[in-house]
């Protein structure tokens, strides 16, 4: 068991952290304050291949391993939770299912632009009546000659709006229950497909989270992803990978908060000395560092398990569960260590605390992760 990053991965981490420091961090507060999707950052990331790290070279991707992709999301998220999730949702939830389940024609058509960041990807599963219980899909898809006609809506879709390519799930045969769900690749601009209202959120405020509305939307039948009726399996396996991305985001948010806090406690003086001299501060820092390190090992382990091939759902669920709880716990404690200043928007930790919370909810709530983990134990 090798706990070290290899030389190239270490260099990749330096690339991502240098980029995050210079290009992402200066915009983080503004992106949050203005709830602005950072298009200019996405363009830069696209130029350097960050939007297609695990996509194969033959499709214009970087052809790198999952761990390198995880390092990217982690380093971006240290600076800005919004930027981290943009990459994670785009890569794990859109590029990945097309890579895994797409026909050669679909891969050739969509992956190059996605990998270059020229198209942004999204994933449409959640509906008003189907959240944690994803099987309750109401959106319908009816085959009519050369098209599937989609009717229904999705909510809470990350990247919706800016995204050009959407992997969408709909019921093709209600009588078969979850075996009647199919996956589709829907392009922005297709008649009958519109992006609805943008949600006003507690955190990751620069991330565009919207409804998708399908009204007799005609999707070409070549855009069926995988086979009819296999959609639910595709969704679940895609989410397994997505969980690793979100775990990396949570890990980055926690680490970013801790790094800022260590700097702050060294400078802040009360009672005639630096507050870093107080044992309460020191013990809190020690506990947070240990928790983050444990989360890191779980996240990297999940990445390596996925890389290896074979099943990795449990590892991914453990990583996401633990990293998300760590992010919420660490960011809350960091705000506390800042005292009054931690509550003021001039300082980054309150944003990090608001950003952290969603990691316990999306791409499978903490509760869902526990279901996955325990079911693997009780087979």
């Amino acid at each position: 068991m090798d706990f070290e990053l290899n030389g190239a991965q270490q260099m990749a981490r330096e690339l991502f952290s240098g980029f995050a420091e210079k290009e992402v961090k200066p915009l983080a507060a503004e992106v949050d304050e203005e709830e602005r999707f950072p298009y200019e950052t996405v363009e830069k990331m696209g130029k350097y291949g960050f939007m297609g790290i695990p996509v194969p070279k033959e499709y214009g991707g970087q052809g790198c391993d999952i761990l390198t992709y995880v390092l990217c999301v982690e380093e971006l998220s240290k600076a800005c939770g919004t930027t981290g999730v943009i990459v994670s949702a785009h890569t794990s939830l859109c590029c990945d299912p097309i890579m895994k389940y797409g026909t050669n024609a679909q891969k050739a058509r969509y992956l190059p632009a996605l990998a270059a960041g020229k198209s942004i990807g999204a994933f449409g599963l959640t509906e008003p009546g189907a959240g944690t219980d994803a099987s309750g899909q109401q959106t319908k898809a009816v085959l009519a000659e050369d098209y599937y006609i989609l009717n229904g809506s999705k909510i809470f879709i990350t990247n919706a709006g800016p995204a050009d390519i959407y992997v969408v799930f709909a019921m093709t045969d209600k009588s078969k229950g979850i075996k009647g769900i199919s996956a589709f690749i829907v392009e922005k601009g297709v008649a009958g497909f519109s992006v609805g209202k943008k949600e006003l959120k507690m955190g990751i405020r620069g991330s565009s989270t919207c409804e998708l509305v399908f009204e007799n939307c005609k999707v070409p039948k070549e855009n069926l992803l995988g086979q009819e009726g296999k959609g639910f399996g595709i969704a679940m396996s895609t989410l397994d990978g997505g969980r690793i991305g979100i775990a990396a985001q949570a890990l980055g948010i926690a680490q970013g908060a801790l790094d800022e806090t260590v700097k702050y406690v060294k400078e802040r003086r009360q009672f005639g000395r630096s507050i870093s001299a107080f044992q309460n501060t020191q013990f809190k820092l020690a506990d947070m560092k240990t928790q983050i390190e444990a989360a890191r090992l779980l996240v990297y382990q999940a990445a390596k398990a996925k890389e290896k091939g074979g099943r990795y759902s449990t590892e991914a669920a453990m990583a996401k569960l633990f990293a998300a709880k760590t992010a919420v716990s660490v960011t809350t404690q960091c705000v506390q260590l800042y005292g009054g200043y931690g509550y003021i928007r001039d300082y980054p930790v309150e944003r990090m605390m608001r950003d952290a919370k969603i990691t316990e909810i999306y791409e499978g709530t903490n509760e869902v992760q526990r279901m996955v983990i325990s079911s693997s134990m009780l087979k």
Partner: protein, 260 residues
Amino acid sequence: MNIVVSIKQVPNTNEVRLDQTTGTLIREGVPSIINPDDKSGLEMALKLKDKLGAHVTVITMGPPQADAVLKEAMAMGADDAVLITDRAFGGADTWATSSTLASALRKIPYDLIITGRQAIDGDTAQVGPQIAEHLGLPNISYAESLELADGYAVVKRQYEDRTHVIKARLPCLVTALGEYNTPRYMTPRGIFEAWEEGRIQVFTRSDLSVADENIGLKGSPTRVKKSFVKAVKGQGTVVTMDPEDAAVWLTDRLKEKFIL
């Protein structure tokens, strides 16, 4: 079109701090980087690769761990890399360094050689022009920009109060200014490909035909007799006051010192 860029691995001297108690420099933990002027020169070369399809080779003279800068350069887009390393080359001043680099360059095809103007550890700005002298090439220093056209290099050459636009027939050597070409980032794919086996060619002493009396410490006309940390000027008076009071205090000081 073959472009060779000579780069150096340097400690990031902008981050070096003085240990106040011992009066010595704290060198541990200071990251090693590609010398900024060299990185800018590399960016110039990569822009020419983008524009004209030029082939870019990076070379460096240093200890074995200097291969890190070659990897970084390839991850940015350089095609090949050569590491010039041998104990015999160590302790060299600019004459010996430039002699060694020139002898390596004689083994590599080039139409254009680019170096940085100066390194942030040596700060001499001598190696580039001296390489050109050993190779019998024209050199254009302090380049703000570089274009290629019909077998010529066209360079905007900086002076204190003006620039000259200079045209030189290839092959020639150009030294690049750090402030003018923002270097691109590496790509993840570039990094992994740079770490593959066999990407870096190594030249040791026996690979180069250069005389012993021109390399290393023994081949250096100049030697460091001693080095020391500058005596720091003593601290004066520092105050924290309201801006109004501070303005009055400062004005009084100017009066005291007969500036006003």
